[in-house]
Amino acid sequence: MHGILDGAVLFFTALESLLPVLLLALLARRHRPHSTTIQAAALGIGLLIALLGLPVPGDPSVVGLYARGYLVALGLLVLLNLRLPTGLVLLLVLATGTLTGLEAGNAVIVDPATGSAPAIGFLSSAICFYLPAALIASRYTEGWQRIAMRVVASWIAAIAAIDIAFMMVGSD
C-alpha cells in the first residue's frame, strides 16, 4: 500500500468490501433520497472507527467470518424487501462500515510509513460508490427492477454463505 490510489483500488477490487456497501445501497432504497447523505456519513464514520484505531479482538481472521455472516443477514433483509425504520438502517450502515473497515484494516494499514493515505482512499471510494448506488436504487423500485435487486441480494447472500464454508475449511 503506497497511497490514496491503492486504498481506492482495494475497495473496488475486493468483493468483501464492495458487496456489503452494494447491499446497503439496495437496503436503503426504500427510504427518501435525502437520507442517503446521512447514511453515507454514517458509513464513513463506521469505516473511520475501524480504520483509525479500533483494535481487532482475538484472531483477526475471525472478523472475516463475522463479516460474511453479517453479509448473509444483510442479503436476506434485502431479499425480504422489508421497510426498516430509518434509525435501524443507520445502525446497519454504521455496523457495515465498521465491519468492512475492520476486515480491510490489515490490508490498508500495513505500512506505517504511508500513514493514513490508503485508508483515506478506501473510505473515499466506499462513500463515492455508496452515494450513486443508493440514489440509483431508490429511483428504480417498481416491478422487475425491484425483483432484480432482490435477486442480486440473494446471490450476494449465497456468495457470502459459500465463503463462510471455505473460511471454516481453511481455518481447520
Binding site: V9, T13, L79, I162, F166
Partner: protein, 220 residues
C-alpha cells in the same frame, strides 16, 4: 394558462435535473464496474487464475446435466408465472448454496449423480407436462434437487486464489442459467413458443435419462 405553465416549469426543471444526476450516477457506476479489471494484473487476485472468478463461472456450465436442470428451473418458473418466475430462481441458488456448504465441509450426500440426473428428468418432465403444482410443492421439489446440484460444486475444491471470487462466479453462472431458462420460457405465451418450450423440456428430460443410465452404469 401561463400561470399554470410557470407552476409546472420548476417541476420540469427538477425532473430534468434528477434525470441528469441519474445519468451521471449511472456513468460513474459504469466506470467503477470497469475497475475490477485492474485486478487482472495481480496474480494473487484469482480473477484470471485458477480458483478465481472465471473458475467459479465456468464450473456450473461444464456439466451438461447441471446446465439442463438449471435451465429447466427457469423454464418451469416462466411457465408457472408470478411469483414462481422470480421465486424459484432465487430459491434454487440459495438452497444450492446449502448443498455447496455441505460439500465444502465434507458432509456426504448419497447418490449425487443419480439425484442430478433425476432432477433433469423431473424438472424437464414438469415443463413438458405443463405441471402447475402449488408454489410450496414446486419450491420443495427444486430445493431437494438444489442440494444435489450444490454438493459437487463444494466438494470439488479448486486450487484457490480468492475463494469469494470463486463463490461469486459460481453463483452468478447458476443465476444466469436460470435467467436463460426464464428468457426462453417467456415464449410460452405464444402457441408456437409453447410447443418449443415443451419440446425443450422433453429434451431436458431425455438428457437427464441419459445421465441416469450413465449413473446406473457406474453403480450410482
Amino acid at each position: 394558462m401561463i400561470s399554470a405553465l410557470s407552476r409546472k416549469a420548476p417541476q420540469r426543471i427538477s425532473t430534468d435535473a434528477a434525470g441528469s444526476v441519474s445519468r451521471l450516477a449511472i456513468s460513474v457506476l459504469a466506470l467503477c464496474a470497469l475497475l475490477p479489471g485492474l485486478a487482472l494484473g495481480h496474480v494473487e487476485s484469482g480473477i484470471a487464475g485458477d480458483g478465481g472468478f472465471i473458475s467459479g463461472l465456468v464450473h456450473p456450465v461444464t456439466g451438461l446435466d447441471h446446465v439442463v436442470a438449471m435451465v429447466a428451473v427457469g423454464l418451469w418458473g416462466a411457465i408457472l408465472g408470478a411469483p414462481a418466475i422470480w421465486f424459484l430462481p432465487i430459491a434454487f441458488p440459495l438452497i444450492m448454496t446449502v448443498g455447496a456448504v455441505l460439500g465444502i465441509l465434507d458432509v456426504p450426500v448419497p447418490a449425487i449423480d443419480l439425484g442430478i440426473a433425476a432432477s433433469a428428468i423431473v424438472l424437464g418432465g414438469m415443463v413438458t407436462a405443463n405441471a402447475r403444482p402449488p408454489l410450496a410443492i414446486a419450491f420443495l421439489l427444486i430445493a431437494f434437487f438444489a442440494i444435489y446440484h450444490g454438493h459437487p460444486h463444494g466438494a470439488v475444491l479448486p486450487d484457490f486464489g480468492v475463494p469469494i471470487l470463486y463463490a461469486a462466479g459460481f453463483v452468478v453462472a447458476t443465476g444466469l442459467l436460470h435467467v436463460t431458462g426464464i428468457a426462453f420460457g417467456l415464449l410460452y405465451r405464444w402457441p408456437a413458443g409453447k410447443t418449443a418450450v415443451r419440446a425443450l423440456g422433453a429434451g431436458i428430460a431425455v438428457v437427464g435419462g441419459y445421465f441416469l443410465l450413465l449413473a446406473i452404469g457406474r453403480g450410482l
